[in-house]
């Protein structure tokens, strides 16, 4: 339980909580980015360099920007009607809290019996070799999925021609 962990955890939690509670959508996305950077920091802290940098590249470089574009295109930043009945909000938060409690309970009882941690070797090269050897099929599948998602997203978001329907 190092200081670094505490700082990063704090940043992540604050960022994510802000992302879920702020009123302005752009602020939400920006704080989400902050939270994700904090999470990437946690990955680095866990010696998973490759995953950490990939996290930044994908989430900050792509997903956040994509969300920004979506916000701008749906004028989400302009409309600020967050007037939900309090009962809905409370029930939602209660359920989330319940889930957290259950998970925490599970952790307290389940898994704290692991041995001493080994310093893992996660050289980028090893990851690459693993991706190309034992995980080559999932890699191909994910490539196909991403291609399909790229095309599908383009098709869905494309402006419909007037009178085409």
């Amino acid at each position: 339980m190092t200081v670094t962990f505490l700082i990063l955890a704090g940043v992540t939690i604050v960022g994510m909580a802000a992302a879920m509670s702020l009123r302005n959508l752009v602020h939400c996305v920006l704080s989400l980015t902050l939270g994700l950077v904090g999470l990437a920091g946690l990955f680095l802290e866990l010696d998973a360099q490759f995953v950490g940098f990939t996290q930044i590249l994908v989430y900050v470089g792509a997903v956040a920007i994509l969300a920004m574009f979506a916000v701008m295109m749906t004028r989400g930043a302009a409309q600020q009607q967050e007037s939900r009945p309090t009962s809905v909000r409370i029930s939602g938060v209660l359920i989330a809290g319940g889930v957290f409690l259950v998970l925490a309970w599970a952790m307290c009882h389940g898994l704290m019996t692991l041995g001493a941690p080994v310093q893992p070797e996660a050289e980028v090269k090893q990851i690459g070799v693993a991706l190309m050897r034992s995980y080559v099929l999932p890699l191909e599948v994910i490539g196909l999925l991403l291609t399909a998602a790229l095309i599908g997203a383009g098709v869905i978001a494309m402006e419909e021609k007037r009178g085409a329907r």
Binding site: S91, I95, A96, G98, V99, V102, L103, A106
Partner: protein, 702 residues
């Protein structure tokens, strides 16, 4: 095994590949198509020369000169179907001839077809034809031979109908295709019969091939129900194929009509190579043809060969008679081809492979020379084909005239210097010494007389006298080919370009020289084909009636030429519509000959009519008998269906409707939970997660 034997398939495959590439070439790729076709043909020619040299070398070393390369193609049941190729003197001679003549005609075609918009397609077909023809020659399996045989027929169909917008060309191509098919059906039956009897279609396969003694003995030993031996039956069936393809007597009608195709096609396919395929086929299966004699030894000529001889001699005389009274320059040559093919068949029948094949080779050269010359004439006269409208071209087209004269003299069999003399003389001599009958000899001799006569007639009509060409009356095949050149050249006949005259001169040279390979004094060709010792022996002329036959045939030729001069050279034809000099004297006979003995009309009245009547009967049967049965079945089905639908409506559907009602009612109840709001669903999932995890943990702890 020598490289060339293993890779003999390259010879047909190169033009095949070229044809494939040309098939996908755009119409504009004229130069590409021509160069591909000619390039592949040149390579094939080189390979053929190599193969030829290889065989000659083996022969000189005295080694066995029949080499085969067989492989298994596919399996059905326990049987393997094998294919293969063969290299022996017969193959070697034929591939060299076909590739050489083909190459020259390809080159000639560049000039002849220069103005045709389907130039590319033309070369594609030509290359495909060459591939199939070469495949036919190198095939060591009757099956492979038959496949190539059919492709050859197909390309012939395509090329005769090359100008398919011309209805006559379309009809001619159809006629050619159907007529040859009539011959191919018995051929195919013969193949099947042979396979069922001998179990293999390979010609030679180290002792187990169908043309090898073991199999032949087996075939001869068996008898059919009518008492004929099996070998003879099969041989006759195969010969039917040859009759169709080589335009022998009953099935010759397609060949004159095939002249609707472009002239290079006529030269290549319908004079030099394809029609000779029938002759080649008989030569190839000669052991089978002569099997009876081979085994029994006593009788010198087998029944099959007798049939071949008679059919050949009748055809020879028949074609020559008709050719006398034709006016179309290409039709004269076509009937002449029929006649000469008859000669070859006769030669095969009476004298064996070498006699027939020698005439085949020499004929290929001089007849393609004549056709190309005729093409040059047609080209020069802007598409005119009627000899009555030509005249006086000797001065205007000197090269064509000179080469045409060489071809004509060779065809007539002018003594000593022309190849036709030696090969025809060989046949006549063989017929003379035939021990069964003298009639084929006399028929052949008369045909030779007629040949000299009609060729002289044609020469006088076309090249002598004054020009009778009429402007703007062009018709026939050249009309298409030269449609665009009228304004370029004008109506005055002109010499053809070098790309056309050079092949002519090459062929003329060959025509002059080739005969010396097979003179009785130095019969290199015969010895090459039949594996006998070769020596120079001028004494051979004196052998057993050789000299008298030579003298008499020379006299016949001179007589024919003289008659030609008497009728046509003495007083030159001066008007296009003047009646024929011979026709004036014996109009009745001339008309019969001019209509080719009314064979087409006869077929029309008999076979075609019968066919139409039969199809009418078939239609009637179809409409009333078969259709009635179908109707009965239909009503039965309908009745059954009505019964079925009754059960369906009242029994099955009733139960199903009840079930559906239940589902629908329960669905209405459940639909109340379906708010359409994702988040409420998510909430349910969340609660479920809590509950189930809690339960799980509770159980685990308890």
């Amino acid at each position: 095994m020598n490289w060339i034997v293993r890779n003999l398939w390259l010879i047909p495959m190169l033009p095949m590949v070229a044809a494939g590439i040309i098939a996908v070439t755009k119409r504009k790729g004229r130069m590409l198509a021509a160069s591909l076709a000619i390039g592949s043909m040149s390579l094939s020619f080189l390979l053929s020369v190599w193969a030829f040299a290889h065989v000659v070398l083996l022969r000189n070393q005295g080694q066995i000169d029949l080499q085969v390369w067989n492989f298994r193609w596919f399996q059905f049941g326990n049987e393997w179907v094998s294919l293969g190729w063969i290299l022996n003197p017969l193959t070697a001679v034929m591939v060299v001839m076909v590739t050489f003549v083909g190459l020259l005609i390809f080159i000639y075609s560049i000039g002849y077809m220069a103005h045709d918009e389907n130039f590319t397609r033309f070369f594609g077909f030509l290359a495909l034809f060459a591939a199939a023809m070469l495949g036919l020659i190198v095939a060591n399996s009757l099956l492979l031979l038959f496949m190539c045989w059919e492709i050859v027929g197909l390309t012939s169909y395509l090329l005769i109908g090359f100008w398919y917008s011309n209805p006559r060309a379309a009809a001619a191509s159809k006629k050619a295709f159907l007529t040859t098919r009539i011959g191919d059906l018995p051929f195919f039956l013969g193949i099947v019969w042979l396979y069922s009897k001998s179990g293999t279609l390979l010609f030679y396969n180290g002792g187990t091939g169908c043309l090898e003694p073991m199999s032949l003995e087996h075939l001869v030993a068996q008898r059919t129900t009518i008492g004929m031996c099996v070998a003879t039956g099969i041989a006759l069936l195969i010969f039917c194929g040859a009759v169709g393809k080589s335009g022998q007597f009953p099935l010759h009608v397609w060949l004159p009509d095939a002249m609707e195709g472009p002239t290079p096609v006529s030269a290549l396919i319908h004079a030099a190579t394809m029609v000779a395929a029938g002759v080649f086929l008989v030569a190839r299966v000669y052991p089978l043809m002569s099997a009876h004699a081979l085994v029994h030894g006593a009788v010198s000529t087998s029944a099959a060969l007798q049939v071949v001889t008679w059919v050949g001699s009748i055809t020879a005389l028949f074609g020559a008679l008709i050719a006398v009274a034709q006016y179309d320059i290409k039709r004269i040559l076509a009937y002449s081809t029929i006649s000469q093919l008859g000669y070859m068949m006769m030669g095969l029948g009476v004298g064996g492979v070498s006699v027939g094949m020698f005439h085949l080779i020499t004929h290929a050269f001089f007849k393609s020379l004549l056709f190309l010359g005729a093409g040059s004439v047609i080209h020069g006269c802007s598409g005119e084909q009627d000899i009555r409208r030509m005249g006086g071209l000797g001065k205007l087209m000197p090269f064509t005239f000179a080469t045409y004269a060489v071809g004509m003299l060779a065809l007539c069999g002018f003594p000593l210097f022309f190849s036709g003399f030696w090969s025809k003389d060989e046949i006549l001599h063989a017929a003379h010494v035939w021990d069964l009958s003298q009639i084929p000899f006399y028929m052949g001799a008369f045909a030779a007389l007629l040949t000299a006569f009609y060729m002289a007639r044609q020469m006088y009509y076309v090249f002598a006298g004054s020009t009778r060409l009429e402007v703007g009356e062009a018709h026939g095949d050249g009309a298409n080919a030269t449609a665009g050149m009228e304004h370029e050249h004008g109506p005055v006949p002109h010499e053809s370009p070098a790309v056309m005259t050079v092949p002519l001169m090459t062929l003329a040279g060959c025509t002059l020289l080739l005969g010396f390979l097979g003179t009785p004094a130095w019969p290199w060709f015969q010895s090459f084909l039949e594996d006998t010792r070769l020596r120079v022996d001028f004494g051979a002329f004196a052998r057993e009636g050789m000299f008298p036959v030579m003298i008499s045939s020379s006299l016949i030729v001179f007589l024919g030429l003289g008659l030609g001069w008497w009728f046509y050279g003495r007083e030159p034809v001066d008007a296009a519509d003047a009646p024929d000099h011979l026709g004036r004297r014996v109009p009745a006979i001339f008309a019969v000959l001019g209509h080719a003995f009314y064979m087409d009309a006869l077929y029309d009245k008999t076979f075609v009519r019968a066919n139409i009547a039969f199809s009418r009967i078939s239609t009637w049967l179809d409409r009333w008998v078969w259709n009635g049965a179908v109707q009965i079945v239909r009503y039965g089905t309908l009745a059954f269906a009505h019964m079925d639908s009754f059960i369906d409506n009242h029994v099955v559907n009733g139960a199903f409707d009840e079930g559906c009602e239940g589902v629908s009612r329960s669905g209405q109840i459940l639909a109340k939970l379906q708010t359409g709001r994702v988040q409420s669903y998510l909430k349910v999932i969340g609660v479920a997660l809590i509950v189930f995890t809690a339960l799980l943990l509770w159980r685990a702890n308890a």
